[in-house]
Amino acid sequence: MYQEIILDHYKHPHGKGLSSEFASEVHHVNPTCGDEITLRVQVLADGKIAVSYDNQGCSISQASASIMYDQINNFDFAAGDKAVEHLIAMLQRNVEPDEDILGDGIALVGVAQYPARVKCALLAWMAWKDAAIQAGAIEEQS
């Protein structure tokens, strides 16, 4: 489960730190272990969604947030949501990991074997989706 690539993200997270410009902020927690993330999004003029976050928690939740930032920061809702859905499907072992969609996130595939950790891997991504919807990113787009 702990691939080099995950440990790297964990030790050197990308994009960590909250931006002061945002349309919506969410705070998600993983109640079984206390992982927490505060995540903010800003919907830009072109429908792209800028994301910033701060978090604490285990290596998986932190690495996953860093990867989330790499993969979907400045994506529009449809593209970001596609990645979220792909990650969920991968963790439920319903699809083969697709590197084009998830980038380093394919390294999270090993988490699927540890049901208790799946929530850690999803935390940041679900927070993104929630914040994006709250910020009205879906309507912007349609």
Partner: protein, 426 residues
């Protein structure tokens, strides 16, 4: 020809090998109170303890994962048995707790609304005002009566009930019982005393017409006939595992997704939370919201195995088999002078609970003589005292049949009643 191979079924039930009183063959006619358990169920529960035991949803180690998997797989399997989604099935200790869970959702929503405390979206449906009505029937088991009496007492709502005809059926002639004030209709699918199977479709139509919710007490139906919530139209279904070959200590509440989501919690504590601080707490989504504390995972695994057992037999076959025994029992008992059946004597829309009284003899005495002959029946008011009052009997003797009973058992019952008559000279 029976729909079930009773001989091979009996071989699965260790208790049926024992004898009772003066070495008599055990004729177990009390499955309406609790059923016996096949070794497959006992093995499944034991296997959980011997190989996967851990507190579910609480650990990240392998045993905890295996235990959680087993628990959640059981939930999905049991839900599937009644045509439901796993997330809409809540485990309780018995049906009684399941019904109380819903009645307390009303109480708690009402109290919290009064104090402007946070409530889930949609909780208005559970807020009662003085003058609102809860509708039950006169044939309810105490478990589906007293919680509503208590709720009404505490909120100022009014309890009303549908009466019974002389034949032991719901008297649906008085449609004025369903009003815009009716918030909940709670009734049994099959009466545990009368055997009557109620026409739920008709009740659902009347309830929906006035915007009331419907809770169906399925304690005596899920074990005995095919039940599919996707077709019944009710909002809640409650039943117990121990009456359907499952272990003691587990019951089920099924509810519509949006209704469970709208209900405040009942029992609170660990595993049902979202966040907790000394200042206040927020709660998880259903079903967890309603499952505080370490749950009965081993029992869920046992019940799941019981469901498999019944599925293999086929619930249509279970119902057909019981029907055959019911017809025979009613005929046999009616052939005895002085016997009066309390409940429908026509076996249509009727399950296998057969209650009767014997002129000049109290049911305790009938039961005692039957017991001396190895025949286990239940005597008394069967937790449905209002039914006894309705038919002006202090108590009844009740035989209930299940998959391991056969026509020999019916004959034993009839012979036993004859013996009681002879003994007491009535």
């Amino acid at each position: 020809m029976s729909a079930l191979d009773v001989a091979s079924i009996r071989a699965d039930f260790p208790i049926l090998k024992r004898t009772v009183r003066n070495d008599r063959r055990l004729v177990y006619l009390d499955s309406g109170a609790t059923s016996q358990k096949p070794y497959q169920v006992l093995d499944a529960e034991r296997n959980f303890y011997e190989n996967h035991n851990a507190a579910v949803h609480r650990g990240a180690h392998q045993l905890a994962e295996e235990a959680t998997d087993a628990f959640e797989h059981s939930r999905a399997n049991i839900a599937d048995f009644i045509g439901a989604r796993a997330d809409d099935l809540v485990f309780t200790k018995n049906a009684t707790e399941a019904i109380n869970l819903v009645s307390y959702a009303f109480l708690n929503a009402t109290l919290k609304a009064t104090r402007n405390l946070p409530l889930p979206d949609g909780a208005e449906r559970f807020v009662l005002n003085v003058g609102d009505e809860i509708l039950v029937t006169e044939m309810e088991h105490h478990a589906n009566l007293i919680p509503w009496q208590e709720l009404c007492d505490k909120t100022g709502a009014t309890l009303r009930w549908i009466g019974l005809t002389d034949e032991g059926r719901l008297d649906l002639s008085d449609t004025s019982l369903f009003t815009s004030k009716t918030k909940m209709v709670a009734l049994t699918h099959q009466s545990n005393l009368l055997g009557t199977v109620n026409d739920i479709g008709r009740i659902v139509i009347a309830a929906k017409a006035v915007g009331a919710l419907v809770l169906l007490d399925a304690c005596q139906s899920v074990p005995h006939m095919p039940v599919d919530v996707s077709k019944l139209g009710v909002d809640f279904l409650t039943w117990s595992g121990h009456k359907m070959l499952g272990p003691l200590g587990i019951g089920c509440l099924w509810g519509r997704t949006e209704l469970l989501a709208a209900m405040p919690p009942f029992i609170t504590g660990g595993s049902m939370i979202e966040t907790v601080s000394m200042q206040g707490s927020t709660f998880a989504a259903p079903p967890k919201r309603f499952e505080a504390g370490v749950p009965m995972a081993a029992q869920a695994v046992g019940l799941s195995r019981a469901v498999d057992y019944l599925r293999e037999l086929g619930m249509e076959n279970v119902a057909a088999h019981e029907h055959e025994l019911t017809v025979a029992a009613i005929a046999g008992l009616q052939g005895i002078e002085g016997v009066r059946i309390i409940g429908p004597t026509d076996a249509t829309d009727r399950g296998s609970a057969v209650s009767f009284v014997l002129d000049g003899l109290h049911s305790h005495d009938v039961g005692q003589v039957l017991d001396e002959n190895g025949i286990a029946v239940r005597v008394g008011h069967h937790c449905a005292w209002p039914v006894c009052r309705r038919y002006e009997v202090p108590a009844t003797t009740r035989a209930t049949f299940y998959i391991y009973n056969d026509l020999t058992d019916v004959t034993a019952l009839v012979d036993g009643v004859h013996a009681a008559k002879k003994f007491f000279g009535v």
